[in-house]
């Protein structure tokens, strides 16, 4: 299955996810992570990096796709949006790790995300270590809402914040996590 023929299905999942459908959003991210894995593995193997590095990049991109999803214009095609973010994250990664950016050519989305690879390995990222570095408020909010699965109002009652403050904390916390992951070398 290649990503271009998958466009209508992926776009439908994205639109449902933007409207708040959890299952669609998770399915979408799982499908995309398989495409991203094949893409990044292919690029990184050429410069002598292993599957764990590729998995780091997959997770970095998955968080970017999630935290920046408000930048997707619902009237546009979905896969070029994914490709642009994936390519940006790859270039940023190569720059950070002092690899040559010349290795990344300017392909079209359909060439790049041509295959999927569901064989995930564990990344080198550790969620607990990352969580320890964000603000206590955001950490608490993410732990309850995102990891323990409590609702926003339950969390708000539990930690004595207003529901909107909980939402803001979760949002900021995820962005902070994303930043931490992007800045590691």
């Amino acid at each position: 299955m290649d990503i271009k023929s998958d466009e209508p299905a992926l776009r439908a999942l994205m639109l449902a996810g933007l409207d708040g459908d959890e299952a669609s959003h998770k399915t979408l991210l799982m499908k995309l992570s398989a495409y991203l894995r094949a893409y990044f593995k292919g690029r990184l193997v050429r410069i002598g990096r292993g599957p764990a590095d590729a998995e780091d990049l997959v997770q970095e991109t998955v968080i970017a796709l999630h935290t920046r999803r408000q930048t997707y214009d619902r009237s546009q095609l979905f896969t070029p949006w994914v490709y642009a973010i994936a390519r940006y994250r790859l270039i940023d990664y190569l720059r950070r790790t002092k690899m040559s950016v010349m290795d990344v050519s300017v392909e079209e989305a359909d060439e790049v995300l041509a295959a999927d690879d569901p064989a995930a390995v564990e990344s080198t990222l550790d969620l607990d270590t990352l969580m320890a570095q964000i603000s206590p408020k955001a950490r608490q909010a993410i732990r309850h809402v995102k990891l323990d699965g409590l609702s926003v109002s339950e969390t708000a009652a539990l930690i004595g914040m207003s529901p909107s403050a909980v939402k803001v904390s979760v949002h900021r916390g995820l962005k902070a996590l994303s930043r931490l992951i992007n800045q590691r070398s």
Partner: protein
């Protein structure tokens, strides 16, 4: 960490996203930019800056200069909206933005040829060039900061280009403020002393882009 765990975490208690939020943010930045430049325009006399050293009789040139600067700002602003979203084609609108300076520069090249060579030096140096060079970049600061703030809420993937366009729009707005009070009396002057500082702003924006917009 397993990717599946991460995805489970991201998807749990998913908040719906309202459409057009990024657009609204950019519009706010644009409003702030235009407002700041408008305020500078109104304060011009209070700041004791010289208004129209040329005597104010050049309505035609003022209109051309205003059309040039505001045209640049408007086309550039449209490109900013596409730059903030990943995966949108930017090449075509960029050609559009190249068209305006090209028209003015070619007009500027033709003008000396049809005029008396004796007037060339006053034509090029006889304007408010000092004001332009200093004021345009200064006036561009607030708009530039507003654009960067908004773009950081988006996901620009071409950072140099995005920074350059932000600088260009900010510079063009700053130039429009100067045009309202002072205009040269020739097209080469408009091209040189307004186009030059705007280009400078774009270059500075391009250099700052990767630093300010990285995500």
């Amino acid at each position: 960490m397993k990717t599946e765990e991460l995805i489970n975490m991201l998807g749990t208690n998913l908040e719906p996203v309202k459409g057009g939020q990024l657009r609204k943010t950019l519009l706010v930045a644009l409003a702030v930019a235009v407002g700041a430049v408008g305020a500078i325009c109104l304060m011009w006399n209070a700041l004791h800056m010289p208004a129209d050293v040329q005597g104010g009789g050049h309505f035609g040139f003022k209109a051309i200069a205003l059309a040039f600067t505001l045209g640049l700002a408007a086309t550039g602003a449209r490109i900013l909206f596409t730059c903030a979203q990943p995966g949108q084609p930017v090449r075509k609108p960029l050609m559009l933005i190249g068209l305006l300076p090209l028209m003015v520069v070619s007009a500027a090249c033709v003008a000396p040829a049809v005029l008396d060579p004796a007037t060339w030096s006053t034509m090029i140096l006889g304007g408010p060039w000092g004001t332009c060079l200093i004021c345009i970049p200064i006036f561009a600061v607030i708009p530039f900061v507003a654009f960067i703030w908004a773009l950081r809420k988006g996901a620009p993937t071409h950072l140099t280009l995005t920074g350059a366009v932000a600088g260009l729009v900010a510079g063009a707005l700053g130039a429009a403020a100067v045009v309202v009070h002072q205009t040269g009396h020739s097209i080469p002057l408009i091209a040189l002393w307004y186009g030059g500082p705007i280009a400078l702003c774009a270059v500075v924006g391009g250099i700052l882009g990767p630093r300010l917009l990285r995500w």
